[in-house]
């Protein structure tokens, strides 16, 4: 999604989110990631203002204190950014890929099933299709990508072919590099 993205040029407008809408977003995010509940006040503080940045190609970014926290495509689910995922790695579902896949993911490739089922990779949780997952790697401590499962973990194990997790946001992609200035 962010292979071609330039934060400086792609911003259509930015606006302060009304507190009622803010509450709405908050509950939506909590609905999606119920494990985030204990820390939601740290992630989206009630007092500080939430800024919604609309970009081209229907990408919305939610920022708090000039840090991008979540992003969204159309009015789909909210994805956490990698920096947020690094901070709260346990709040999101996780999958782990083997070592060979790291390089390919970092250049933006989608994750194929064999990379998720081989030795060194792990699928600990049972997840349905279309779940947002943090992608971790064998031997690494931190996540390297955010993905969307294309099939359930059951299917990934059984079919073991084609794209298992779509790569949405990965380390060193333009979104990672972009920083928001006020």
């Amino acid at each position: 999604m962010f292979k071609k993205f330039n934060i400086k040029e792609d911003i259509a407008n930015r606006s302060l989110v009304k507190s009622s809408v803010q509450r709405n977003i908050r509950s939506k995010i909590l609905e999606q990631y119920n494990k985030l509940e204990p820390v939601i006040d740290e992630v989206l503080p009630k007092k500080s203002s939430l800024i919604l940045i609309k970009c081209h190609e229907h990408i919305n970014l939610l920022t708090v204190n000039n840090e991008i926290m979540f992003f969204q495509h159309f009015d789909g689910p909210y994805y956490p950014t990698l920096r947020l995922l690094h901070k709260y790695p346990h709040a999101f579902p996780r999958v782990q890929v083997d070592k060979g896949a790291i390089k390919k993911i970092l250049s933006g490739a989608n994750i194929m099933c064999p990379g998720l089922t081989s030795r060194g990779a792990r699928l600990d949780e049972d997840l349905p299709a279309n779940t947002i997952v943090g992608v971790f790697a064998e031997g690494k401590e931190h996540a390297l990508a955010i993905g969307l499962t294309k099939m359930s973990t059951e299917d990934i194990k059984n079919i073991n072919k084609d794209i298992g997790v779509e790569n949405v946001h990965y380390l060193n992609d333009p979104l990672w590099k972009s920083s928001i200035e006020s």
Binding site: V39, K87, P89, I102, E141, H142, L171
Partner: protein
């Protein structure tokens, strides 16, 4: 109680992640970037304990990998590619260091003049904001204008070239002093 608490605390405590100052990735991913050697230096300087943890093991491993000849050729090709990328980044940096900031005083009529600043964008400076700063600093009009080559410049109303020179040095220390050029231009047509 305490046993039940452990999973929740693992969620509620935020993890502080160290990011590499050179390539901005978590250090464990530096090896996949083009600037590994520089990243290593940076890490050793700032977070030596992490450096030891990451590279003491991998060094041994990579030694073993190079010893076993089976995938040496692919390694070589990859190394070359990486070296190329690193060289490219280096070149860009040098280009940046060589780029000049020109401050030009342009006479508007007998008494009045405007000051034109070009080349600031090469130093990662937001021109719009800089223009705003100049305006409030020198109490005059200041705006971002496209010149006839289509490159953005800042035009400040009034002759503030000497003050600007100092102000730029003060506010953006990453702009080397030698790279700022002061020139003067008289309006030719009447």
């Amino acid at each position: 109680m305490s046993e039940q608490d452990t999973p929740t605390t693992s969620v509620s405590t935020s993890v502080q992640v160290i990011y590499c100052g050179v390539c901005s990735l978590p250090p464990e991913y530096c090896e996949y970037g083009p600037t590994l050697s520089k990243c290593k230096e940076w890490l050793q300087e700032r977070h030596s304990e992490l450096f030891d943890k990451l590279y003491s093991q991998t060094n041994i491993e990579s030694d073993v990998a190079t010893l076993s000849l089976e995938n040496k050729s692919t390694n070589d090709a990859e190394d070359k590619k990486k070296a190329k990328e690193a060289a490219k980044i280096e070149r860009e940096l040098q280009k940046k260091m060589a780029s000049k900031v020109t401050i030009t005083r342009i006479a508007r009529n007998k008494k009045k003049s405007v000051t034109n600043v070009s080349g600031l964008q090469n130093f990662d400076i937001d021109l719009k904001k800089a223009a705003k700063n100049f305006a409030s600093k020198f109490a005059c009009g200041s705006s971002v204008v496209k010149n006839n080559q289509g490159i953005d410049e800042i035009v400040v109303q009034g002759d503030v070239s000497d003050d600007l020179y100092e102000y730029i040095l003060e506010t953006w220390p990453n702009v080397p002093e030698d790279n700022i050029e002061l020139t003067e231009e008289k309006k030719s047509k009447k």
